[in-house]
Symmetry: C2
Subunit: 195 residues, 2 copies
Amino acid sequence: MGRWEPNARGRLAQAALTLYAEQGFEQTTAAEIARSAGLTERTFFRHFADKREVLFYGSDSVLDLLVQAVAGAPPAAGPLDAVSAALQAVGAVIQETPEPARLRYAVVSANQELRERELAKLAEFAAAMAAALRDRGVPELAASLAAETGTAVYRVTFARWIAGQAQPDLPELLRESMAELREVFTDRLLGSPAS
Amino acid sequence: MGRWEPNARGRLAQAALTLYAEQGFEQTTAAEIARSAGLTERTFFRHFADKREVLFYGSDSVLDLLVQAVAGAPPAAGPLDAVSAALQAVGAVIQETPEPARLRYAVVSANQELRERELAKLAEFAAAMAAALRDRGVPELAASLAAETGTAVYRVTFARWIAGQAQPDLPELLRESMAELREVFTDRLLGSPAS
């Protein structure tokens, strides 16, 4: 046991996700979350500015991970390879404990304001990866295109992972998606109506 | 002159954009917009539900244009070709009267809530194009990847067009970006640090 509330932040985050998923984001109060975690509302607000922040407080470390992975990709890696490696690094972290990510996705998807905020976060991730690519010497346009494309691939793949349409390993699904997009760019016949 | 206010909607939209750009979205009231257009506040609210809607009311017709262009692409066109054609069709419309689009971009960029709403609209466009691709017989994953990638390319290119870093023809810039991304997918050397 720590000095005060051991792992209060983690307990609050888990309680919040569970309650949001069970009864809806809008219907859940900070006081309920705190009570469910065995803590006080005051403690909740010591750790999170508001109910929404519980869903986004991890995004700073995701952004750091993405930027470090882009920067740390082998020198010979192309921009999309570096971006793919970064997204797979995040995918591997999520895959370790998938349940919170699945709950979070359900909560965010059910609320227009949260969906819009999520898209803004992804746009920040893309901008940060583009900057990291430029630091590697990638020209401006190629850097932006690779970062935004990678982020688009991530969105599509994450939804696919959630839907469980294929095996559940997120990094592997990301590799598959990137390979598929590469084919879309090269295989003209894909667009022909099936007949 | 029509029965009541001729072209009230267009006049209100133009007055709103001008005022938002001059004095900020938040600082502008519906009454000011109406006055500036020579109309009443009641007329404003007959045409738009709120101040924000003026900035998004055109998006339904953009969506229709995108879907029709994807559906109408030649049968042999690949999914990214069909998406490119659709985005270029929208780009051509914007290029005809670029000033409102530039003003609108400045207003939306300056406001977090509007930026998030804009990203949500782009996500709707991507989903609609993916559905139109599936109707062409494109498999689910390829359809989503092509639509989301195309939308990502559009975002990057539109910002480039606004920044005026190249010649100002939006459809041509879109073609360039798509060609550049195709190279990013094939040219491994682009990522090497310039040395």
